[in-house]
Symmetry: C2
Subunit: 440 residues, 2 copies
């Protein structure tokens, strides 16, 4: 055929070989089960969206990272950039068909034409759960508590769920005297607190045209610390002159109580007045789950965005959601050795291949073992026994069965425990039981 | 925000709402379990491939259907068109890491810039299993038998697995006197037999420059019919002067025997000398699973392609694979009502929401039920009870729990069976047991 082509993929893309897939599936299965046990239902949307659906949603910098192309009909298209915009489109398109509140989860890849780097990919999975059509803080509590439960089931400990409200931030800007038009600037600046420290935020606020006086007030506000209950009390008196802030504080108070009902202990909650989150579209509670030990940063985050779907429908539809950092979780669990041993459904038994007259028996035995729930393969090539056992070792298949020759004529097979390097001559009727015993 | 955008997707693309996903997941789960029980392992590859990897693989018409674009670095890229080319690339890239024979399955979407029509989409899932690094007919038998088992588990009956060999077709062209350069033309023509009938094939052969005499011989060859064993015997003598054909017949004979060992009854096999399959790259056994009743055509198909991976590696690496028509299966199962009732993990219990003092109890009860494996949600909005029960009905939630007021003070809840419209006052300790009883 054609001349040799160098087999390769673009930087920032990844092939997931079976050993990767086993881990990815382990994480995804646990999260799916958690979501579904809470009544979230799966949605999938196409990779390709019309350009005007994607456009104007991610800010100028974000929009440049969309893979954009035209099809033969000269339609302007783009690859999915996140799962929130497709959900908003779906909520609008099928608004009369979807029962609300609509609790959906979605686990699909997204694409970003970004410079790849450590942990930054051009294709990666997002794992989002959202509730559409519920303005009540119950919905925010539900997406926080469900994510938290999923992370616990994956083995994460020492969580802190930081929460705050865009309404409080709005009130804070109001009270600081910075001017309502500075809300985005203030949020962008204080969102960087963890990265650039107080002095950095100070500089950023001034650069963004916030007055010296307003800047000082803002820094004072975000210094308020303590247990959630203490922060609520302090904030309540400090922000008493802002209606927006008062509304936000009420929501935070309800959120705290609901999370308590849902089993998230207060010791794991942190009402953090400096939490701002970058995205423009949040309108109410915002939240982020941070693993403190080991220090790996945020592994989930989200918030309420009551105005997004309205763009497509014409009237506002309340929405809130939480996105789990699937790729980071998969990587971190690897680094910390958090995967259980023997995960995945790797094949358990290799039946070695013998000449044709014994092959019929081997095939039937394989069927029998599979019907007992034991993943089994018959060796495919006609290699020597040594080569076949080598294959079992290379593939980490724990059991090899040698079914042939005189032993088979007497109704027996040899079962080799590849890990312990023991072997057993076992009568036909007892094979499955013996293998189950060895697999433990 | 911005002006209203019409929420829509391009024709030929689909959103899968939860009721669709439940069915898709049902089919995919059964197939995955079948593949894994045979030792096939999952692979995933990125949606975006370098253009030169995709180019030259699908014929001129196929290549025009690839979604092609450049990224900001002016790299020439395309969206995945099938799963065979990515597998071939992976087999070459990781050739020293992958243990062979490499049994992989892959279930991912592919994209075609095609005119959409009934059952023809611009994004659709493919579901492929392949074996790399095994030249033995065992591998062909394995991919046929595994697909067959998956289809049986999905509830398909009355299969016919048609099989043939490209080697026989090669020999047939040789013996017909059409000339070796006419092999592709002959295959393309007879591949249309089902669609255009014998006369159509006759015309097509002549149009493609096959001589009258050669055409007659070819039509005579492909008329040979009977049980696989009968066709093998007849073909053996008719094709005795072609070495290629003899090799092919030997393979078919081995295939038939191996499929028998693997539990596929001879009555479901059909050695069909007119089976050609469209794609250029096949080199040995080819096969297609056809459901005869109801008449829905082929639901899986594949064959051996020993020369494809060699393009990337430099030396030939044997490969064979079978592709299951996932989208067709999902649709047909719907049309024929083949999905079991109550599939999927829909939520089983709605706990109605009561005022705050009772909410803590509701949340804890929800946790308890989930830990017993019962998917449960607490109603999120503060609607009236009637509205909450309406939601349970709309979502097909079979059980509603009313936990509040005086009943709760006495330690009881009311459990409503939404299907039978019965209700039970149940003490706290017996709730889970009662719900399990009602769910059956």
């Amino acid at each position: 055929m054609a001349e040799k082509v160098q087999p390769r993929i673009m930087k920032g893309l990844r092939d997931f070989l079976p050993e990767d897939m086993v881990k990815r599936n382990y994480v995804i299965d646990i999260l799916k089960k958690t979501f579904e046990s809470h009544g979230f239902m799966q949605l999938e949307t196409p990779a390709i969206e019309m350009w005007d659906i994607l456009s104007g949603k991610y800010g100028e910098e974000g929009e440049q990272l969309i893979y954009r192309f035209k099809d033969r009909g000269e339609r302007d298209l783009g690859l999915r950039y996140d799962l929130t915009v497709p959900l908003s489109r779906v909520s609008a398109m099928y608004q009369h068909k979807i029962v609300k509140p609509f609790k959906r989860y979605q686990i699909q890849p997204v694409w970003r034409a970004d410079k790849p780097g450590k942990g930054r990919f051009r294709e990666f999975y997002q794992c989002d759960m959202d509730i559409i059509g519920c303005a009540d803080t119950m919905a925010d509590a539900e997406v926080i508590a469900t994510a938290w439960e999923g992370l616990k089931k994956l083995g994460f400990r020492n969580f802190v769920i930081k929460f705050n409200s865009r309404k409080i931030l709005k009130g804070m800007v109001e009270l600081s005297g910075a001017g309502a038009d500075k809300e985005t600037d203030v949020c962008t600046a204080i969102d960087k607190l963890d990265k650039i420290g107080v002095e950095g935020v100070e500089r950023e606020l001034l650069t963004r045209g916030v007055s010296e006086e307003a800047k000082d007030r803002i820094l004072e506000f975000i210094k308020i610390q303590g247990t959630p209950q203490e922060v609520i009390l302090q904030a309540h008196s400090r922000f008493k002159d802002s209606e927006w802030a008062q509304k936000g504080i009420e929501e935070m108070s309800a959120l705290r109580r609901l999370l308590d009902f849902m089993g998230v202990p207060e010791s794991n909650l942190m009402f953090d007045l400096s939490l701002a989150r970058g995205l423009n579209y949040y309108t109410g509670p915002i939240f982020e789950t941070v693993v403190e030990k080991p220090k790996i940063g945020s592994i989930s985050g989200g918030g309420r965005y009551d105005n997004m779907i309205g763009q497509y429908v014409g009237t506002p539809i309340p929405a809130t959601g939480n996105s789990i950092g699937l790729e980071r979780i998969i990587t971190v669990m690897e680094e910390l050795g958090m995967y259980p041993e023997n995960i995945g459904s790797g094949v358990k038994v290799l039946i070695c291949r013998f000449p044709d007259e014994d092959l019929a028996y081997s095939m039937k035995l394989a069927s029998r073992l599979r019907s007992e729930g034991i993943s089994t393969e018959v060796y495919l090539n006609s290699s020597k026994l040594r080569g076949q056992l080598g294959y079992a070792e290379d593939r980490n298949i724990p059991i090899a069965v040698i079914a042939g020759g005189n032993e088979l004529k007497e109704g027996n097979v040899v079962i080799k425990d590849m890990t312990k390097r023991e072997q057993f001559t076992t009568p036909d009727a007892e094979i499955a039981a013996k293998i189950k015993e060895l697999l433990g």
